[in-house]
């Protein structure tokens, strides 16, 4: 059973509502960080692992969905595209013109399949947060964005070293052009840390944090809609509580739509940054 269902059922048992007889507060039903630590269905007892959880299932599901999407939309490509093929072509053109070309130029076209796969994969993992029954964005667990960001990090370093050789690649990344020589000893440590430490970290954290915060926000509004609904409060208070509950559920609806936008945006931002990093590695000194 997932954490959000546990919270709600616990609240239902205790009959926890506003103006209720047992005077319980919202903190007793409000969802917390426990949402993102679902109980494992199978644990292998390995240290530092969380076992086979909802995240694992949704991850496998995302992989299958993305594979199925690209398989079925491109299997029998025609000159006059059908519905599925049109969507696929639209996606390809979007990623090529908005992500690959601005970040890497024409030389980046060979990375187009990678960027497409990353974009669709991340988007599907994010959207798992809105699918009824799933309701948990896979990327809200730091492990998944971290692995993807690490992959991109290794990739752009390898590309840079292969294009320019180790020495000149590192020099181009670490020595800022256009600064006087005497100030370089002060600037180079900053460049090293910002390019090789903060860059991959922020790349992963941005996706993780937006997904975690967005999902938590939705959960709070949903739980609020439940907590604020109390017909037994008596008289005016009942009306007030129903009004509050309606507002909370309305906010839940609005933010669900907003969250869908954020999910697409964050997937786009992730691949956009990946393409900028790879583009810089191809180009060398900046």
């Amino acid at each position: 059973m997932s954490a959000d269902v546990r919270t709600i059922s616990l609240a239902a048992e205790e009959n926890c509502h506003i103006f209720g007889e047992n005077q319980c507060g919202f903190q007793e039903v409000s969802p917390g960080i426990g949402l993102f630590f679902p109980e494992p269905w199978a644990s292998f007892g390995l240290p530092l692992t969380s076992g086979f959880t909802k995240y694992t299932v949704l991850l496998v599901l995302s992989v299958l969905l993305v594979m199925a999407f690209w398989f079925f939309t491109t299997r029998k490509a025609k000159i006059v595209p059908g519905r599925g093929q049109s969507i696929a072509e639209l996606l390809v053109a979007f990623i090529r013109d908005q992500v690959v070309r601005p970040g890497m130029g024409k030389a980046g076209d060979k990375y187009l399949p990678l960027m497409l796969a990353l974009f669709t994969f991340i988007f599907v993992m994010n959207v798992m947060g809105l699918i009824p029954g799933a309701q948990l964005p896979v990327t809200s667990n730091l492990a998944y964005p971290a692995v993807l960001a690490l992959f991109v990090y290794v990739l752009w370093n390898v590309i840079g070293i292969r294009e320019h050789g180790f020495g000149s690649f590192v020099k181009g990344k670490v020595v800022p052009s256009g600064a006087p020589v005497w100030i370089l000893p002060l600037l180079v440590p900053i460049e090293i840390v910002s390019n090789f430490v903060f860059r991959p970290v922020t790349h992963a954290l941005r996706l993780f944090a937006t997904m975690l915060a967005g999902h938590l926000l939705l959960a709070v509004f949903a739980a609020g809609g439940f907590y604020l609904f109390n017909l037994n409060a008596g008289g005016l208070l009942s009306v007030v509580s129903v009004g509050y509950s309606g507002l909370s559920l309305l906010a839940f609806l609005v933010f669900t739509g907003f969250e869908l936008f954020i999910m697409a945006l964050q997937a786009y931002v992730f691949v956009m940054l990946a393409s900028v990093y790879i583009g810089e590695a191809i180009e060398g000194a900046h």
Partner: protein, 72 residues
């Protein structure tokens, strides 16, 4: 479409990572503030070189952003 973007790219107009500005600021404060903290530990000050280092790192990061993104 591709020609226009190719031209934009050649004229020096291209995507930069907007987060790298924040990464520079954080890295500047972390590196020089960290060195300041180490100096404090070594020389038995409570907090003398730490704020100096943080401010120095911030100033250097702002200068670095100026050199990298504005002047070039």
């Amino acid at each position: 479409m591709s020609d226009r973007q190719g031209a934009a790219r050649n004229s020096g107009e291209r995507n930069v990572d907007p987060a790298s500005v924040i990464a520079y600021l954080l890295a500047g404060m972390a590196v020089w503030g960290g060195l300041g903290w180490l100096a404090d530990q070594a020389l038995d000050f409570q907090a003398l070189f730490l704020p100096i280092g943080v401010l120095l790192g911030l100033a250097l990061a702002v200068y670095l952003i100026y050199v990298q993104f504005i002047r070039s």
